[in-house]
Point group: C2
Chain length 244, copies 2
């Protein structure tokens, strides 16, 4: 029975040690998986009554389009992340999700979600904690775009992705695989792909980090974190308040 834990189980475990039946519940949620091709939208904005997804493998992103043709990437989803959790409550999604690579997802119905929450409050708390963490990342992203320079917020993004990937066993202190191109990166940090290119060059020339051929390599992680004004408290594994 000792299967390797899924990325989600791994992430939640770091936050709150999970009992065998709780791990089994996660496995149950992840049972019905399906493959979605790169460049496909998983959820369209304003689509109603859809499901949530657990990303099991590959990368995706949440984004919104603006009338002039521009796109803003809200955040990236990596294995172990929920997608569309909020829209289960709002019933209609406020943004779209797109697969950036071929991905494997598990579809979770609102009813499954609510049933699970009622039967296993500890698991519910862990999942809500993860959702809160994601929201804190969006806030940090907002601050970066509003008040930090292109160099700083790009550095910030690379550091953050690295730490998130480490939490699910997909990265190290020295490097990680990153299937993004400069256009997607630009849509995330609110810049032009052209300027992202120059920013990445600067980071490379300062011997802080190299992003090339789908791989991010840290040369001077402390220096990079310092430049990025990294605090990262929002990724800390603080203990939750539990019901009961």
């Amino acid at each position: 029975m000792s299967m390797a834990m899924s990325p989600l189980a791994r992430k939640l475990s770091r936050f709150l040690p999970l009992a065998p039946d709780e791990l089994a519940s996660i496995a149950a949620l992840e049972a019905r998986s399906r493959v979605v091709a790169a460049q496909t939208d998983l959820v369209h904005e304003r689509q109603a009554g859809h499901h949530a997804f657990i990303l099991l493998d590959g990368w995706a992103c949440a984004y919104k389009l603006v009338p002039d043709g521009g796109r803003q990437v809200i955040d990236f989803s990596i294995p172990g992340d929920f997608m569309g959790l909020r829209s289960v409550l709002l019933r209609t999604s406020d943004h779209s999700f797109s697969a950036l690579t071929d991905v494997v997802v598990a579809e979770v119905s609102p009813q499954q979600m609510l049933d699970g929450f009622q039967r296993q409050p500890r698991l519910a708390a862990a999942i809500l904690w993860a959702a809160s963490r994601d929201e804190a990342m969006v806030v940090e992203h907002l601050v970066g775009i509003g008040r930090r320079s292109a160099l700083v917020r790009t550095a910030h993004l690379l550091v953050e992705l690295g730490l998130r990937l480490q939490l699910v066993g997909l990265g190290s202190d020295t490097s990680y695989a990153c299937p993004l191109n400069q256009y997607v990166l630009a849509d995330a940090v609110g810049l032009t792909a052209i300027h992202v290119n120059r920013v990445l060059r600067q980071l490379r020339e300062r011997r802080l980090v190299t992003f090339r051929d789908g791989r991010v390599e840290f040369h001077d992680l402390p220096g990079l974190r310092s430049l990025a004004e990294w605090h990262g408290g929002y990724l800390d594994q603080a203990q939750p308040v539990l019901p009961g």
Copy 2:
């Protein structure tokens, strides 16, 4: 016993009709109120184990400071809004709250919160819906700062505030009281106060909206919404999924 409903009760009622005992529960949460002077921080970033607040009267904002002295306002809080709800779960807040005017707040402990949620799942759903709505507003804000011009996102903010205030009975289609100055506005839209001034002038000269002497007056709301690329789906009162 027919007291006027509090702003929170009024807001939640529009989303989900509330039973008398549910309204009573809200009143109970709001019982212990206290006054906080303008310019005071209600919650400091990284403060742990604090409470959540319900804003009963006045305006506040959630913000983060950046090392160079800049400030980014994440969102504004108006009567009927929760503040610090997320940090009840994360246990440590990822941003600060500041009173912009003298405010009246009710302090709610995490335990009160969780007890109430377990006893009244419908009320819990309504509150979580409101929290989801707030999060959708942050996302919209992020998109605005990342991909929309100064003019458009300032217009957007003025429209959004107007609609939110209407939902709690503090504004109309033609105007509302707005105690913000151009510095706070600038911190919200990611601009300089100086540039906010020029943007407001433009909006005035285009006969769309005037913001002066603590009051926002719409001259051409449809035109303003059009400029602001207003869709506002995230403020819609969609029906929730209820547990059970």
